[in-house]
């Protein structure tokens, strides 16, 4: 068994071609000395098991689309069948997702030769850059419940029925975020707080291929959005522009936000086995999130709230740092602010309130450094970060400053956080 796990956990730098930049000129396929590159009418793709990373195709590519690499467990390398369906490259797997594939946190990428051309110039300055993603744990807290994963795959999705769909912000169409409740009826679909599910939008894309599934963290606790029911909730922001502010109509998010009660959706999952909450009754939880990154935080908070109500809780602390552009765009603002102060310590940061200086979650964390430091040192405290990739580094630097500000050795603290499954990062 050990060897099987080890084989799964071998990492490769998988060579991929960016379908958004490639012009399908065939130069790479004609150049490749080992026949690793092939194509159909839609995409040019690289066979991971054939490519020997000789780099012969890199220089002749006229577009630069050829020079893309993803760290992947060898066993889960993207097959050409999947690549042929892509409209864009998938993001790098997070440490958490890699962990879910059985990759040890200190796993080393197995490559014949490190792709020289893929090295970014800034890495050559001799100074190791601060790599926030490296601090994320790949194991769950010791007291976490066991997570079920991959009960329904892309080839065998299950069906859920929409039983609720409301805008959970006070924002208008372009910035609204929906709280969507899906019911699984009699189909078993056990999910824990912090896990995610995949939704497959119906129909086909512009080229007639089925859409790929989009992943969403569940926003409801383990016993259902409505306690005792087989349902989950999702927090879905309607995507009307991309990260650069260009107009884009997100296929899955608009599909979900437009669903009516009674509609059915195709669902796969559950996914994730390390971003899980501690069950230990005296454990503390520090949550840092932006926007829809609040979904797992809502799930954990709600589970703690239900436990507290039933008297089964012994007073672990909850601390929340929550950022949004404005108060109106903050999901669940109303319900959140009505939670008792002795239950949860809420810190809200708004980066676009007119007439106010921009405030980010890491700014609030710096202000609360004195309170964060003891939690960093406490083996019963767990940290969760979820939201936009851009905040990850700032949040980690704030934790580092909080540690060193109170005389803790950050690298030592970070080492135990990672080893003990106490710091979890989920950014996109």
């Amino acid at each position: 068994m050990d060897t099987a796990v080890a084989a799964d956990a071998v990492l490769i730098k998988q060579h991929l071609i960016d379908p958004e930049i490639c012009i399908r000129c065939n130069t790479c396929e004609a150049t490749c000395p080992v026949g690793a590159i092939t194509h159909d009418e839609r995409n040019y793709v690289v066979r991971a098991d054939v490519c020997n990373q000789c780099m012969a195709c890199i220089a002749p590519c006229p577009t630069g689309s050829i020079d893309n690499w993803r760290t992947m467990p060898k066993a889960r390398a993207y097959a050409i069948e999947a690549q042929l369906l892509w409209d864009e490259l998938p993001p790098e797997l997070t440490a958490d997702q890699l962990a879910a594939e059985g990759v040890a946190p200190d796993a080393v990428v197995a490559v014949q030769a490190e792709p020289v051309l893929a090295v970014k110039p800034e890495a050559a300055n001799g100074e190791a850059p601060f790599n926030s993603a490296a601090y994320g744990a790949t194991v769950p807290p010791w007291s976490a419940a066991h997570a079920y994963t991959n009960l329904f795959g892309p080839k065998t999705p299950t069906t859920a029925t929409v039983v609720g769909n409301v805008n959970c912000t006070e924002a208008g169409f372009h910035n609204q975020t929906h709280h969507i409740v899906l019911d699984f009826g009699a189909i078993p679909f056990p999910v824990l707080e912090g896990q995610s599910i995949g939704v497959v939008p119906p129909g086909v894309d512009a080229l007639g291929r089925p859409h790929v599934a989009r992943q969403y963290s569940v926003a409801s606790p383990r016993n259902g959005e409505r306690p005792g029911y087989n349902n989950v909730s999702l927090t879905v922001k309607r995507v009307t522009e991309d990260h650069q502010g260009r107009a884009v109509r997100g296929v899955a998010s608009n599909y979900l936000c437009d669903l009516k009660v009674g509609d059915t959706v195709q669902v796969i999952g559950p996914f994730g086995q390390s971003f899980l909450m501690p069950n230990h009754p005296r454990s503390h939880i520090v949550m840092v999130c932006t926007g829809t990154g609040s979904a797992p935080m809502r799930a954990m908070t709600e589970w703690r709230r239900r436990l507290r109500k039933s008297g089964k809780f012994e007073g672990g602390k909850l601390m929340l740092f929550f950022g949004a552009r404005t108060r109106e765009e903050l999901p669940y603002f109303g319900p959140l602010t009505s939670l008792p102060k002795d239950f949860i310590d809420i810190n809200l940061a708004f980066s676009r309130t007119p007439g106010q200086p921009r405030k980010y979650v890491q700014d609030l964390m710096h202000e609360r450094a004195v309170d964060l430091a003891p939690l960093l040192a406490d083996p019963n405290a767990h940290f969760y970060v979820c939201g936009l990739k851009a905040m990850e580094e700032g949040v980690l630097l704030a934790l580092r400053d909080a540690a060193s500000g109170s005389g803790l050795d950050w690298e030592e603290v970070a080492g135990s956080l990672k080893r003990e499954g106490r710091l979890h990062l989920e950014t996109y």
Binding site: E20, I23, C25, A59, G64, P121, A206, T240
Partner: protein, 474 residues
């Protein structure tokens, strides 16, 4: 005077050992530089341009990037590595050994094919010579110049074949390639599309997308040739041609991206408002597309051609990806459908396949072009816009073949003169369209800055950032 040929003219054709070829090139080279100075890129002599130079045909030597003055560009002569015991794989000579020299009976036809291909290379440099003065960014200026020097190298490649294999008349044809001039009334370039103006950058992007793609298909067909030096030369040229099509495809794509952004910001699809905001409206883009597409598909020649049949059967020119096809590679007794107009209606008729090989290549080109237009439409789709670009009907605006001169709507409906006149300005770029696009053209030379009608590219050249100083003004 001793010249280090491998330094001055990078090559893999043993130029240093070939005195005859050296003498021919020594005579031709000063005329080439003179031609470059006279009708090459305007006001470019002092610029240091971040260019890619091929110094050998292997992947390591393929792409050497550095700042060079274009006049000092090292135009090399490269043939793809030889394939041992290569056999002719189509036509009447199927199965025989490929020719390492020109067979006497095919000499005239081969020379004609090489001259026709060679003539297009300097022609496009001439057509594009003023564009450097209105480049929308340093990145684009560099791409234009890269295209220009590579067209120059393609000329060298054809001249090499003429001088090496065609004796005295080959040398004369090589000279004449520098004497004809695009658009010259008395001594024009051979093919129509290469006498059209490339007056603005939208035309340049459309040209590199469509017309250089014709180049791709012609070169691909020649890379199947039984005449091995031609096959190997054109195979290497294809790798460079890919860059030209990249410039076109990404160029139009970036124009679309900017237009879509403006349409979304203003929440309008009114061409007037889009124009007022300094972007190019979709209707104008469609008209440019209609023009360049129709002019380019004429380049494939008449839909029925006995020359095409001869070229194929005698092994001079194959089909696109001949080697990947699984028919008999002789094509005798087979038929192909071509279009003609009967009683005011377009009808298909079966003609002998061998005579229809121009049409076969044209249809392969159309398939390839349409796929790229689909990728352009993804830009609109991603921006949430319902509009789409389409290629016009194959019979639209044709000047060559059975469909020449027929009045046809872009959808493929035969129309009368009155209807044509009433709609011509909706279907093809008008003088007013060209004047408008021309009015947007202004030079942008600050690194990382782009003219308002075009979006920046997704990535830079050779992993350099987008705001890299791709051209230095000395």
């Amino acid at each position: 005077m001793a010249i280090d040929y491998s330094q001055k003219i990078p090559n893999n054709v043993q130029l240093a050992d070939d005195r005859t070829l050296q003498r021919a090139l020594e005579q031709w080279q000063p005329n080439f530089i003179q031609w470059w100075d006279d009708v090459g890129p305007d006001e470019s002599a002092k610029l240091d341009v971040y260019l890619r130079t091929a110094t050998s045909v292997d992947p390591q030597g393929w792409a050497h990037f550095d700042y060079v003055k274009m006049r000092d560009y090292r135009w090399g002569i490269f043939l793809n590595p030889a394939e041992a015991d290569r056999k002719i794989h189509f036509g009447d000579h199927l199965g025989e050994a490929a020719w390492q020299d020109v067979p006497g009976e095919h000499r005239a036809n081969l020379r004609r094919i090489i001259v026709t291909q060679g003539d297009t290379e300097p022609a496009s440099v001439e057509q594009q010579r003023h564009l450097g003065l209105t480049a929308p960014s340093l990145y684009d200026l560099r791409n234009l110049f890269q295209v220009n020097v590579e067209e120059g190298r393609h000329l060298w490649a054809m001249v090499y074949l003429l001088q090496k294999y065609f004796g005295r008349d080959g040398r004369e044809e090589a000279g004449a390639l520098l004497e004809r001039t695009s658009g010259d009334e008395n001594n024009p370039r051979i093919l129509g599309a290469f006498n059209e103006k490339t007056p603005d950058w939208l035309a340049f992007f459309m040209f590199t997308y469509f017309t250089d793609r014709d180049g791709k298909f012609q070169l691909a067909a020649l890379s199947e040739s039984a005449f091995d030096p031609l096959a190997r030369t054109t195979k290497f040229m294809l790798t460079e041609e890919a860059h030209h099509m990249f410039v076109g495809e990404s160029g139009v794509s970036r124009v679309l991206q900017r237009t879509a952004q403006v349409m979304n910001e203003l929440r309008t699809d009114d061409p007037g408002k889009v124009r007022a905001a300094g972007a190019i409206d979709l209707a104008t883009l469609q008209r440019y597309l209609n023009f360049h597409y129709s002019v380019t598909i004429d380049l494939f020649g008449a839909d029925q051609s006995s020359n095409a049949a001869t070229f194929y059967s005698s092994g001079l020119k194959g089909r696109f990806e001949e080697g990947k096809r699984s028919d008999d590679h002789v094509l005798k007794g087979q038929t192909y459908k071509v279009l003609e107009v009967q009683n005011g209606q377009l009808v298909e008729k079966d003609v002998p396949m061998l005579n229809a090989l121009n049409e076969v290549l044209r249809d392969d080109f159309i398939k390839d072009s349409v796929a790229g237009v689909g990728r352009w439409n993804k830009v609109l789709d991603k921006a949430g816009l319902p509009q789409r670009l389409v290629v016009p009907h194959k019979a639209f605006n044709r000047k060559i073949g059975a469909l020449a001169g027929i009045r046809m709507s872009p959808e493929g409906r035969v129309v009368g003169d009155d209807e044509w006149k009433a709609h011509e300005a909706e279907w093809l770029p008008s003088a007013a369209d060209r004047a408008f696009v021309g009015s947007l053209m202004g030079r942008v030379v600050e690194p990382g800055k782009f003219a308002g009608w075009i979006a920046p590219p997704a990535v830079g050249i050779n992993r350099q950032p987008v705001d890299f100083e791709y051209v230095r003004f000395g």
